[in-house]
Subunit: 403 residues, 4 copies
Amino acid sequence: MVAEQTLTDQYLRVRAHSEAICRGLETEDYVVQPIADVSPPKWHLGHTTWFWETFVLVPNAPGYRIFHDDFSYVFNSYYETVGKRVLRTDRGNLSRPTVSGVYEYRAYVDEHMRRFLDQARYESPEQYALIELGLNHEQQHQELLISDIKYILGNNPLLPPVAMPMVTEQENRFLSASAHPSIRLPEGVYTIGHPCSTEAEDQPFHFDNEEAVHKVYLNETTLSGELVTNGEYLAFMEAGGYQDFRYWLADGWAWVSDNGVQAPMYWHQVEGAWWQYTFDGLAPVDPAVPVCHVSHYEADAYARWKGRRLPTEFEWEAAARLPGSQLNWGMRWEWTRSAYLPYPGFVTAEGAVGEYNGKFMSGQMVLRGASVATPEGHSRPTYRNFFQPDKRWQFTGIRLVSQ
Amino acid sequence: MVAEQTLTDQYLRVRAHSEAICRGLETEDYVVQPIADVSPPKWHLGHTTWFWETFVLVPNAPGYRIFHDDFSYVFNSYYETVGKRVLRTDRGNLSRPTVSGVYEYRAYVDEHMRRFLDQARYESPEQYALIELGLNHEQQHQELLISDIKYILGNNPLLPPVAMPMVTEQENRFLSASAHPSIRLPEGVYTIGHPCSTEAEDQPFHFDNEEAVHKVYLNETTLSGELVTNGEYLAFMEAGGYQDFRYWLADGWAWVSDNGVQAPMYWHQVEGAWWQYTFDGLAPVDPAVPVCHVSHYEADAYARWKGRRLPTEFEWEAAARLPGSQLNWGMRWEWTRSAYLPYPGFVTAEGAVGEYNGKFMSGQMVLRGASVATPEGHSRPTYRNFFQPDKRWQFTGIRLVSQ
Amino acid sequence: MVAEQTLTDQYLRVRAHSEAICRGLETEDYVVQPIADVSPPKWHLGHTTWFWETFVLVPNAPGYRIFHDDFSYVFNSYYETVGKRVLRTDRGNLSRPTVSGVYEYRAYVDEHMRRFLDQARYESPEQYALIELGLNHEQQHQELLISDIKYILGNNPLLPPVAMPMVTEQENRFLSASAHPSIRLPEGVYTIGHPCSTEAEDQPFHFDNEEAVHKVYLNETTLSGELVTNGEYLAFMEAGGYQDFRYWLADGWAWVSDNGVQAPMYWHQVEGAWWQYTFDGLAPVDPAVPVCHVSHYEADAYARWKGRRLPTEFEWEAAARLPGSQLNWGMRWEWTRSAYLPYPGFVTAEGAVGEYNGKFMSGQMVLRGASVATPEGHSRPTYRNFFQPDKRWQFTGIRLVSQ
Amino acid sequence: MVAEQTLTDQYLRVRAHSEAICRGLETEDYVVQPIADVSPPKWHLGHTTWFWETFVLVPNAPGYRIFHDDFSYVFNSYYETVGKRVLRTDRGNLSRPTVSGVYEYRAYVDEHMRRFLDQARYESPEQYALIELGLNHEQQHQELLISDIKYILGNNPLLPPVAMPMVTEQENRFLSASAHPSIRLPEGVYTIGHPCSTEAEDQPFHFDNEEAVHKVYLNETTLSGELVTNGEYLAFMEAGGYQDFRYWLADGWAWVSDNGVQAPMYWHQVEGAWWQYTFDGLAPVDPAVPVCHVSHYEADAYARWKGRRLPTEFEWEAAARLPGSQLNWGMRWEWTRSAYLPYPGFVTAEGAVGEYNGKFMSGQMVLRGASVATPEGHSRPTYRNFFQPDKRWQFTGIRLVSQ
């Protein structure tokens, strides 16, 4: 967040960005949910609005009247403390509220938020923290919006293109750059994590799962300066990587076999050549671009085939925070070999907000970095993203470490 | 079909009726598929159009160019002879083609059909039969459109009303009538079924599953003159009918237990009173109206509780065709105790059209009559409808027979 | 039942036959349940014993003490009126009671039954009927024992042979006979079903689902004098019958596709030749023997491929009861095209016994006749067997009817 | 392994122990597989024998002839390099080979192993390592045998006792001891893991997943000196711990809800009091004994309810290896908060043996320590056990750490 902006400005800018992402959609594209992981775009637009209404306006804005009695049921995601909700798998069954109804909901809440923020009631640290959380929450959904839209259209038999300027621009920003050197990480004790909000004043925003600062001991390693490219990954495919169980985790091999996986998501083989779905429609796979839309299983198998391994999340963070570090990150969420677990000293916050990131789940792996779909100002070296190891509809990629 | 109309007139009237059914919908309502049985309304509109394009225009209209290469994949329902198709369960995942795209498709095909019909090419008996089949096919989808729309909105947490004039009008048409006497069916041999098209010239339209005429022997029975009402069904509920396994078929009892069924579909208990979703929104259950949206299991259990039984499809047809019969039918599809099986002498037609009704399936039960959602001119005493015994999103009801 | 025997003799003979079927088994063979349809042999031996204890001894033998408190829970099959029971799918998880424990249970109950029967308390018609029902119930389980044992061993990778003299003998008894002529059934009204026990004194035993006598009208047909042979069925296979959807019911085609079915159960292709598992181990398929272990779907598809059809259960019964009929039946349960439904006038009996055959279920097809595994004295022209259309571990076969 | 024993002695002692565990079983108990996790005891006895035959005798004993051609198919567990195998979920469907057949197989292989070991061919380090691996492999299956037998009998409605002297003795060995003090772990760098076999001569046996030695940085913590007792766990239950989502991981809460979990495995509430199944049959829950048969989810929820947490596997190992450590372990496998991941520097071994522990799988949690079911000589501070977080049929318990 740029400090000179008013909070109202920041709020309106973030809110506008969510809508900008959807500008190219047809009404119908807002509605469907082809798999449980993917939410309908109108649900994202409504849910982020419900977050502001429920956690900021209702408790803090005197006289605020909620927009619609049933929207809490429709747009609650998983907050058990805030009542019943539509099952996640049923979101795509809801034709109502309509898309224009959701935009009206957004306009109504934005108007009340604007008034609320202008009246500077947010000056208490708690309210300020809540608004910062709301902004970052909406930014998380912006990246989900982009990947969910890609899934919805990329799995439609018509493979329609859609205007998505915030992604296409960025796809090439790293490519013109010269090659990046690998990063050597000397053996020793490193500091990991973000200071707790309670430990230090004026901390920049971070999620609670980045807390608390603690030390880890790392052996010497070298991280690759570049992400694995489509061309390199194609070599793994052509060497029979998807057919040889030795490269795969036991559950990864079951995933490959049960689903007949043979290539990254969105790849299609047409008359011998490989194409991939992009926001511009079907395009030839470019061998020089970092591979995208691979699962943790695929990342891990590729590394084993290569005789290398994935970094731990601690190695990644240490490398990104090395003084003068030139770790070239930001194009792909980078799978690590670390399971997603609370840091030592982590304490779950109270109340509904405590469910936010305190809702740990076993069986997820950490991703570090950011991607071409991550909004501006929403990435930092301590950021911890996490997904089940079979997920690949996010903009995920691979960085290797010497064994 | 009224004879004085031209075929073009008939065609345009049927096609307009499909669109009239959807007039009250929001764009979003056209898209969703909350359960596998329910297809998105835009899919019905597209599929019926694809039928005309594929079976009438492509083989018969010289120079006709298909509207879009991929639409056959999207809008084929199950015709294996006509190539691949979207899985039935995936229809609700498709945001494209858009609703307006589907209406353009309809307009394009209608224009070519109009030209084709005006040029009187249909005068060959085969072409005439094909067009009649297409009209009746579209009428079948009209009833599905109505019940699918009811399911989509009646399972939305907002329970929104929608304009559906062709149904609301009819809901009361039988109610003002005086009570109907029961119908005694004397023991003996009866004639069942529709003459084959090849047996007699100028046969009115019928589906092939109504063929061929054959004899059955029926014991004496008496069919109730009235359908079971909401009030009567409520008595079954209040007597613990859903809790006592003795009234249920073995698979029916498993269905009740596994799904926690406690009332007909669309019924909601609010503070002790029973309400039901209708096209006008939530309304109190009217005890005088025939019960609707019950499964075969529920119909059968109700009858057993009452010490009666459901009619066979033969008893029903015989009663409806008795000289001077006053069987009062047409409000609800009436579950029979007959499994859906081909009649003696049935022969599957050749080619894709042979898949149409020749596609028998074990495990379905016959329904007879028609409902308030059945289009004008699409019902007759020989008509055979059929569904799995757990289905109840159609406008289904119960008529009893003395044991 | 031979009239000259005492009831005690009959009882002991039937009970001994159940144990004779199991004589060749290893202890381990009594325990497993490879699929839900197949029960462990020790369960059959215990369940039939529980039937005698629960329905005959407990209510009628003064001072009888049940063998073990928990056996009702273990050996109840589905009688909801008699309390809780082990889930059908969990029967193979029970190592206890042991096999010898089950034989002790049998000996204990047999001793008490012997005393009970000798004291002639059964002379009331109700008690006599109950004992006849128990004998026939045990005979039904004898056929299930044979087919379940075949499944257990025929799906073991060692394909072990087992002594089963009561079946092997019979396998050839029809083969030496000369060819049988086909049976012409003239058009007309036929009488079907067994008189109700209440309608006539001294009725020979029959199940309630054979009641009541009623008339049906049949069109002229001709039933084949011979069952379809392995050789004829092989011609269907070699003509691509399993690969062409046109021959299959819609649900049959789904069954073939989902399960990769390519041949009757127990058939194995070894270096180009077809073998089948028998109680003597793996043996070459004999083209002259009637095909066995086919599902209704396969029977129906074969008939359609042949341009013929399966008989209705009424045609079958009428043919078997024609004066001087020479219908050659008894080797295979013959699939009919009739769904299993109660006859007109059927009334469910009261109490637990009423669950016995009154427990109708939609979605099952009728089989007529008997098989090489059917015990002596347990077959008659009115007998109605029934299974879901995908089942084929019984000794099922195919008879055709001219279209 | 005691050094003075000959390898032959060690081999025969380990092999005899497997059979001793089964001494109290009925033949039927060897056969069943009530859930996929539990293998039939005869399968364990056969599989461990197959391991010796396949990996020791076939490649190393000249002239050895395998016992039975099909046993590799039956008794291979998951080694993809050694060919096809029976699906894990189908092991309980196999009545053959019989139990006595499996014991013959054991005797045959033991005789050949005895000859082989006596001829001292094992003196090459590779062969010695292979034999040590085989002994430890069989010991792992001994613990599985005990927990699988407990599951088989503890889920039988008769709840039969069984002689299992090797467990009952141990259940009380820790109880008479005086209370154990908690262990303070000072902040700093600790050494974790076992030296690689290649790094040092004469290393005592360890599995490859304990390799390699590496450093970790630990913050100060204090481990409880005692495991959580039944009485303490009961307090959690009575405080509504199973009903409050706030204590549970997101996937743990789903597990509790979907399965209706309300108590540890084998606990039964009878007229208000809690009983548990033991090898002696049903017994009252003793509040002083460490709680057993809890999942990771339950352990984690208990800790959160208590305002504490589970140790990491590194904290546990460091505490167990502290000079003069008095960590009181060995009664229960202790759930840690660590996901099961390869250590830095881990290298998968080549060949089938490389599948042994190199077969990592995401989504499993590490358990440390040992249990009353662990065989003598099969535990050490570096040992890493691992299971999915919902598993609880092992002898699992809870140790807390100050937050």
